[in-house]
């Protein structure tokens, strides 16, 4: 069972490594969107510090969605998805593996870039740490919930736009608690409550999302 999960993850990471262009698009998108805000709003430290956490988090949501459309679509087109669905393991293990691989490929780079981008918003060191921590708990949620949208819209024309409409509302709690944790540090009220809720949300997505996504996948492939 666990071996199957690791094989799915290793396979997707290997494929991403072979197609670095696709992989870098989402990261560049993240950097560009976040960097545009200080340029557009102007160099006022107080204002930037207020909007900083929210901007980084919203950009992370969008960057995650950008790469989500192709989570299953490439495998669907060349028939490997069918083969994987017919493997002797539960399909929810497949969707879980794909979501984890998506997080490794797209989520972890965001964590590494985020503190650098936070500096542009004049965030203090402590807030930067919490920003990375909130993203570390939050980005797996984005990958897990996004996999549901990717499975539901598989094979539909204009699936990319549809995923955005379906999944962005589900991302709202992650955005509120994630950005809220960083704002809590800035305003001095602390971030523990927000991070705990974010953690609870992660556990819930981890339990439910692979299963829902596998059901959606079965319907879409048929």
């Amino acid at each position: 069972m666990l071996k199957f999960l690791f094989t799915v993850i290793r396979r997707d990471v290997l494929l991403a490594a072979r197609r670095r262009g696709d992989w870098l698009t989402a990261q560049f998108f993240f950097v560009m969107v976040v960097s545009l805000f200080p340029l557009g709003i102007g160099p006022e430290p107080g204002m930037l510090r207020t909007i900083g956490p929210g901007v980084v988090w919203v950009a992370a949501l969008l960057a995650s969605l950008l790469s989500m459309e192709r989570l299953f679509a490439d495998d669907y087109r060349d028939g490997t998805l069918e083969q994987m669905l017919l493997s002797p393991y539960p399909n929810s293990l497949l969707t879980l593996g794909k979501a984890i691989a998506h997080w490794i490929i797209n989520g972890i780079p965001l964590l590494l870039i985020a503190p650098v981008l936070g500096i542009q918003f004049n965030l203090p060191a402590e807030a930067l740490w919490i920003l990375v921590l909130s993203l570390a708990i939050g980005t797996p949620i984005l990958s897990l919930l996004g996999s549901i949208g990717a499975a539901l819209t598989l094979g539909l024309r204009g699936g990319g736009a549809l995923i955005t409409l379906l999944i962005l509302p589900l991302y709202v709690p992650a955005l509120i608690f994630g950005a809220g944790a960083v704002e809590g540090v800035l305003s001095g009220t602390g971030s523990e409550a927000h991070l705990s809720l974010l953690g609870a949300f992660l556990m819930m997505s981890l339990l439910l999302a692979p299963w829902v996504s596998a059901m959606a996948l079965k319907v879409s492939v048929e």
Partner: protein
């Protein structure tokens, strides 16, 4: 072994076939015949468990296939219209990953032998992207050989293959049947299975 009982299939409100049934045991082959759009591919997808029939049930060793996902997944191999080959990986990597996903251990010598047998020994290190359509089909067939499955479900396996390739598939199927395996095949081309009398099933008449 494999029993289909009163299968019916609907596609977009249209009934493709109904009351379709057959039984297949060790060492038997089934050729599915029917014109374009008669539901051959739909039938094969139902048989391998990718689609759910409108009515009826497919049984493997007496159990409905949706109840024996694990065992059926191990004993059945399916080749569909798409080859199930990753363009960015080499044929060798494709075989290795396919085996790992099925929970099998595939050593390099066996994989190499299978690739040689399908005539791809010169292409093992090339990404599948640069291979021709027929060559990619051959990679899928090499995967079928290494899968060691008891039941083969092949949807138009001859598409894109040259004369030599067709003869190779015929030989593969013959060997598989003689060794006691089961095969379900659709094809528009004549398939010469000398010495065997495959069952014939007509779909959607």
């Amino acid at each position: 072994m494999l029993t289909a009982i009163e299968l019916a299939c609907e596609r977009g409100e249209r009934l493709l076939f109904k009351n379709l049934g057959f039984e297949l045991g060790h060492g038997e082959a089934l050729l599915v015949r029917g014109g374009n759009g008669r539901g051959k591919t739909s039938l094969l997808r139902i048989l391998c468990g990718l689609s759910v029939p409108a009515t009826g049930v497919v049984r493997w060793r007496g159990e409905p296939i949706n109840k024996t996902h694990e065992q059926y997944g191990r004993e059945m191999a399916y080749i569909g219209h798409a080859n199930g080959i990753k363009d960015d990986l080499t044929p060798m990597e494709n075989l290795r990953i396919a085996a790992a996903l099925d929970g099998r251990v595939l050593d390099d010598a066996t994989a190499m032998a299978a690739l040689e047998q399908v005539g791809l020994s010169r292409c093992v290190d090339l990404p599948a992207r640069v291979l021709s359509f027929g060559q990619r089909r051959r990679v899928a067939l090499a995967g079928l050989m290494t899968a060691g499955a008891l039941l083969w479900i092949l949807d138009e396996p001859l598409t894109g293959l040259d004369v030599e390739g067709v003869a190779m598939v015929e030989q593969m199927v013959r060997d598989h049947i003689v060794a006691g395996g089961l095969a379900i095949i659709t094809t528009h081309q004549p398939l010469a299975l000398d010495g065997l009398t495959p069952k014939i099933l007509s779909v959607g008449d």
